[in-house]
Amino acid sequence: MAGKKRPADPSIPESNLKALNPDGPHVYHRYHIETDPAPDVAPYPSRFQVRVGKVGLARHLLREIVHYRFNRRLVTSRPCMYGVFSGPIGGFAPRPKMCVGCLRCMTENPDFVRVYHNPQRQLLGDSYFTPQLVDAVMYEAQTGKIPVKGAGYRGKFGGIGWDGMWTDMSEIVRPTRDGIHGREFISTVVHVGERPSYLTFNDQGMPAGPIPRGFSLPLPILFDLPPVSLLQDSLVRILVESARELETLVILPLSQMQRLGVQGQHIVPLVTPEDHGSLAIPGEGPLMVELDSWNEALFKGVLRQFPAAIPCLRLNFGSGFEEQLLGCVDAGIRVFHLVANYHGRSTDGDFVLDTIRRAHQILVDARRRDHVTLIGGGGIIAAEHVPKAIICGLDLVSLETPLLIALQLAMAHGCADRSTSQFIVPDLALGWGTQRLKNLLASWRDQLLEVMGAMGLREVRRLRGELGRAMFQKDLEREAFEGIAGYEKG
């Protein structure tokens, strides 16, 4: 009924309520990302090229005209059902954009039709963000849907990094029985912040001592800094607005925030020692502040300036990061943002899958894992990388290049790190860009649900560090092939 507000449901816990209307009652809000088609705005090369020999086609037509005695339906019946030859002059001007590569035309007419993979398509992305992964992200950003295809798997057997890892499934266990995207509830909520092992209470039953600071995000995904070369206001505004609508966070350099005047609790300022004297930002204080390196004076300055915010330390995966991690836990940091380069490599060249596991394990060994939040980024560029990274030990992941690809930014060269990567930027409209990122995250969240559903898990927090529910190619190969002549442990 128009204008009538639904009354608050007292059975629903306060934590699950959200004020959708500042002056109205709390109403039930279940996290959901609204998807809407957001077609490409920049040219995107077709998957295939179609070449038709004009002479061969003319001969074929003449032959058929005679053979079928001018029966128009018979003569003009073409093998393609996707419209490649349905333009005004048919096969004389094929429309490769519509080609899906079924090859029926080439099978039926081997003497004058050829279909090729479009070499332009193979130039998309770079050596890490392969054209296939670019395609997947583009589809997800356009539609918000999970990519579904027939005819089985087409890729390599395994590989290094994420490709050498499989997640588990259960034959009979399922979170609930009502289907993934219907009534079934699988939580993707994560906690960020302090998590003491216990609380103490005074005689009045009130918590004694400082209340642990923390907040929840409905998605285990946040947006990392844009590359140094990308200072376009339009891009930053899209990241900010998308993060706000997705109820997640975006990290931005403090100086950029101040320059653009963007504000909101969901913007995480990245502060450097140079910012020490000018930490003020307008508007609501942020939920979290990220320090770009360990600096005690800066840390204290941040605590003073933003008493309600969670300080987070950005650490590069690389030599000695484990000791630094433990040292900073002792110094009072409870949230870490561990980053590799855009190709998922640490400064030592190790892959992020291994470094995440090391970070998780060292905290487990030190009995500090449950006290801290680990955010990780670098090389997480496909939907499947999110659950895999969480299984390896992260609480949540940060994204960079997939967001840019979703917005149709083209990689100018190999884009391996934040400081040197160059992109070609199309015209970016705020509404379009925001929808593309919402679509991408909706698709990735649904795929996370698929993976967790298959494993029989009800919440993403239980996925963290669940290495017993993961399988690694090295281990499986050793178990299966050890003893076979020529097999050496990899």
Binding site: Y82, C102, Y116, G150, K156, M169, E171, G486, E488
Partner: protein, 439 residues
């Protein structure tokens, strides 16, 4: 008698069917060179074209096409056989046996199939009725089996009922008492490799009125089968399922189809104790129907790793010779089959290879719109006509013949006379890391 005049629609079908048949032959004979844009890492252009030749001739290609392995850089593609020197091969005069039993228990009906394979479940709706018929006729001709998949049991298959496995899957689509009663084997599909833990997907475009009627669902509405069985939470519940089937059809053998989780070995033992005769373990790299891309590669282990895990555990438990293990999900060639058996399977279940034999180019457009443009994975009445069931049965039968010839050749070159002697013989395999670089 005056010959009935063909309609224009019939002539159109005839025109394209003939052109397709000519094309399959011409391309596989490499008359126009290699087919550009065909193939992928798992099913290379060579593998697809050589399968077309086998479907055409009943033998392996002699034109240099690689018909044994793909280009995936792992699993079967890295395994070779340690063939004996020529002078130690089993002579052509001595027969070699390629048959396997499908019931290794001391009780219940004894079934033996002459080749260590049968056709895997592909549902009505995911494939056309013509393809189901072609598969059933080929199975009958070779005294083996084909599975209905989870979309019901069309009446046209009834004449081949002795060679049709009735699948019971989580959606229970089209499962009726009579389809259980007429089946020599009933297959419970707990999970499938291409989408482990997710249940079958049939998108709305393909849920025609006929398909919906068979499945007792609503036309043009997507069908996502639930996962898992709503009635099974444990091995005990699973046994209840088996008891239910055996009450309705006491003569049926029971097959349990599962995916490949970390504890696949335990699943295998549980299935055995629940009373299954056949365990079908389905790896993730096969599959013919619609599946989320994320599930194909990332969930559950490849079949090459699951087979030895299951085999060894069943041996340790002392029950290996009482249950038949069939491997599926990524078995493309006769060489894959022989390697799967050497790793510990009794036999294999084929799906994609049969579709490739019928002309599939693996373009992955099966799930949407009108479905397969070659008339395979479609429910479109016009496209369905592109495959004549008789032609299809012959192609699949020829592929089976070629597989049998190759398996016999492999056995002879290993000095074996029976495919059953190959089971679990990893000592006859070698690991060829050089092939890693092909991918």
């Amino acid at each position: 008698m005056k010959k009935a005049k063909k309609s224009v629609d019939q002539l159109i079908t005839e025109k394209h069917t003939e052109a397709l048949h000519r094309g399959f032959q011409a391309w596989s004979e490499l008359r126009y060179g290699m087919m550009s844009a065909l193939g992928d890492h798992r099913w290379t252009a060579d593998l697809i074209l050589s399968t077309w030749i086998q479907a055409e001739t009943g033998n392996v290609p002699g034109n240099g096409l690689e018909y044994r392995i793909g280009d995936s850089g792992g699993g079967f593609d890295l395994l070779d056989f340690k063939f004996l020197p020529d002078d130690r091969w089993v002579s052509e005069d001595i027969p070699v046996r390629t048959s396997i039993p499908l019931n290794r228990r001391r009780f219940d009906r004894k079934i033996e199939i002459p080749i260590p394979l049968y056709g895997g479940g592909m549902s009505y709706g995911s494939i056309s009725e013509h393809i189901m018929l072609a598969r059933a006729r080929a199975a009958a001709a070779w005294s083996t089996y084909t599975s209905t998949g989870e979309g019901g049991y069309p009446d046209s298959l009834a004449p081949y009922k002795d060679h049709v496995i009735t699948q019971v899957a989580t959606g229970m689509f089209g499962v009726r008492e009579e389809t259980i009663q007429r089946a020599p084997i009933v297959e419970f599909k707990y999970a499938q490799g291409a989408k482990p833990g997710l249940g079958g997907h049939l998108l709305g475009d393909k849920t025609t009125v006929a398909v919906a009627k068979m499945r007792e669902s609503v036309p043009w509405v997507s069908l996502f089968s639930p996962f898992p069985f709503h009635s099974v939470y444990s091995v005990e519940d699973h046994k209840k399922h088996i008891d239910w089937v055996r009450t309705i059809n006491p003569g049926a053998l029971v097959c349990v189809k599962v995916s490949t989780p970390t504890d696949i070995d335990m699943v295998a033992v549980g299935s055995y104790y629940a009373g299954a005769h056949i365990l079908q373990i389905d790896g993730g790299y096969g599959g013919t129907g619609a599946a989320p891309e994320i599930a194909k590669k990332n969930i559950a282990m490849p079949i090459e790793f699951a087979i030895p895990k299951v085999h060894r555990y069943l041996v340790q438990e002392g029950i290996r010779d009482e249950i038949v293990v069939m491997a599926s999900g990524g078995i493309r060639t006769a060489h894959d089959m022989a390697k799967a058996i050497a790793l510990g399977a009794d036999g294999c279940v084929l799906g994609t290879a049969e579709l490739v034999a019928l002309g599939c180019t693996r373009c992955s457009n099966c799930e949407r719109g009108r479905g397969c443009p070659f008339g395979l994975t479609t429910t479109d009445p016009e496209l369905t006509q592109l495959v004549d069931p008789e032609w299809g049965a012959k192609r699949i039968g020829n592929l089976y013949r070629s597989i049998q010839l190759q398996l016999s050749r492999i056995l002879r070159q290993l000095g074996l006379r029976d495919i059953r002697e190959l089971r679990g013989r990893t000592d006859l395999l070698s690991y060829n890391r050089q092939n890693e670089n092909r991918a």
